[in-house]
Amino acid sequence: MTLSPRRAVLGLLFGLAASAHASPAPDPDLARNLAATCTGCHGTDGHARPDATMPVLAGVPAPELMQKLREFRSGTWPATIMPQIAKGYSEAQLELIAAYFAARK
């Protein structure tokens, strides 16, 4: 892998200042990248085909998405597949995903 200058500097700083537990810089595109794991089924940027089989996520308010995702995780909203998938993400990751889709037009 190519070591970018910034990465090399970061590595140096962490190497000097911290231990093996130094965490790398967070990804500035994290919300977009996490949301992209949903879009194979739910359509690019949450624009699922308008046949109502897969819910359109684009433009849905984040609190609404989060409530649904929490219900999937807790099992209070029974479904075939989403309870299994929602459990694979942390609360913080789901918040990022919900905010990303809410902001799509």
Binding site: M1, T2, S4, P5, R6, R7, L10, S23, P24, A25, P26, D27, D29, L30, R32, N33, L34, A36, T37, T39, G40, C41, H42, G43, T44, A48, R49, D51, T53, M54, T80, I81, Q84, I85, A86, K87, G88, Y89, Q93
Partner: protein
């Protein structure tokens, strides 16, 4: 190469009239535009091409090299064998990538890659150079592992239909031509192979076709594995519903084929069939070997899970079925689509001189038809583990259907149309 048009788009200019004659877009651009070449237009490569253009806002030039004129989906192709769908239903064009996303689509085949020079050669004679290369070559079949399938004639008679297209249509024709009372035998190689549940789905869908059209016929599943390797309980239930039609035999590795008599030679018996369908063992597409990429077990490309870059060949990113999978990760079209997004994000960061996402996440959904309308699924979510430098399945997440249902049948078809659009539209 789209230089001029893309420059105009990036610069926000309405047309070419503002450019001085004699100056190309590239000459006016502050920095040279990066060029990514993607080889292979399947679930991995097509997705990578689109997302590189979409996420760069058109700032990165992308060329997709694909040998076939159209995309034909392996997922859903078993329904063509069952007579429920046609090849046209699973065939899509590359116009969306070209017209909507500005991907340069080149119908050609890559014959040689020079990673040091960052160039590749095309069968038609041209050369392409890249800043970063994405290889999504899929699998090649190891026909040398199946004595008796070493000739073109034998392979024209004993089909795999494990790459959707002409073979799918030809196998459907063999099944239709088979007299009622005949035997269709399907051999499954040892895992890992492309699409773990695919052979079991195929057995069910063909058995369903026989039940409707040729009720005296038999499906015989000869599995080299010790047991059903995907959705075992659900496929066991499905097989039970085809009692008298479908027979499943584990530990039945194929040793040789006699193409003339359509006979599968196993360790302790020979099985003669009316239609013999051999799914051969597989490995990464040959171009990976040609490029000198490090393989694991001589078959699958060893990659870095943050970037999908080959561990021994900087600048070359590999996606999909060709890679050595992370623990419990299936070789699926859905997973290749996920690989492509992680790789596209990483490539854009690396081109900008920045570090890639340190904690990528991928997830998988595989739907399988157990008849023309009832479907079962398996799902999983895989998060990057910094200590092990791979992605690991999240404990407690993922799983399989409670039972086959028509509801999931609708989801399966919606999945197909949505993921095809996510790749190509």
């Amino acid at each position: 190469m789209l230089k001029r048009r893309d420059f105009l788009k990036t610069a926000g200019l309405a047309g070419g009239s503002l450019l001085l004659p004699g100056l190309s877009g590239r000459a006016l651009a502050a920095t040279p535009r990066a060029h990514v070449v993607v080889v292979g237009g399947g679930y991995g490569g097509a997705t990578a091409a689109k997302y590189l253009r979409m996420w760069s806002g058109g700032a990165v030039d992308v060329t997709l090299v694909e040998r076939d004129p159209q995309f034909i989906s392996c997922p859903i192709s078993n329904l063509v064998l069952g007579g429920v769908k046609t090849l046209a239903d699973i065939t899509l064009g590359y116009e969306g990538l070209r017209d909507t996303w500005g991907v340069k689509v080149v119908k050609d085949e890559v014959t040689a890659i020079d990673p040091a020079a960052r160039t590749l050669r095309l069968a038609a004679g041209g050369t392409l150079s890249w800043d970063r290369l994405v290889l999504s070559p899929g699998v090649d079949f190891q026909f040398d592992q199946v004595p008796g399938l070493d000739s073109e004639a034998a392979r024209g008679r004993i089909l795999h239909a494990w790459k959707a297209g002409a073979q799918t249509v030809a196998l459907r024709a063999q099944l239709e031509a088979m007299p009622d009372g005949g035997v269709y035998a399907l051999t499954i190689p040892l895992a890992p192979y492309r699409c773990p549940p695919g052979p079991y789905e195929r057995a069910c869908v063909v058995a369903d076709y026989f039940r409707r059209a040729k009720p005296k016929s038999k499906v015989l599943v000869l599995d080299a594995n010790a047991e059903i390797i995907s959705k075992k309980a659900l496929f066991t239930q499905a097989f039970a519903r085809y009692k008298g039609i479908l027979e499943y035999r584990p530990n039945s590795a194929l040793r040789e084929v006699d193409a003339a008599s359509r006979t599968a030679l196993l360790d302790f018996e020979n099985v003669q069939a009316d239609v013999l369908n051999v799914v051969p063992p597989q490995r990464a597409g040959a171009i990976a070997t040609q490029a000198g990429l490090k393989l694991i077990n001589g078959r699958w490309v060893d990659i870095d899970w943050q970037t999908f870059e080959s561990v021994n060949t900087p600048g070359v990113h590999v996606l999909g079925d060709a890679i050595f999978p992370a623990p419990t990760m299936p070789k699926s079209g859905h997973m290749a689509n996920q690989h492509a997004k992680v790789a596209a994000a990483a490539i854009l960061r690396l081109l900008a001189g920045e570090a890639p996402n340190p904690a990528p996440v991928v997830m998988n959904t595989c739907y399988s038809f157990v008849d023309a309308s009832h479907v079962i699924h398996v799902s999983s979510v895989h998060q990057y583990d910094a200590a092990q430098r791979t992605v690991l399945p999240v404990a407690g997440a993922g799983g399989v259907s409670a039972a086959a249902s028509e509801q999931e049948g609708r989801y399966a078809l919606a999945w197909a149309h949505n993921i095809w659009a996510d790749m190509l539209a």
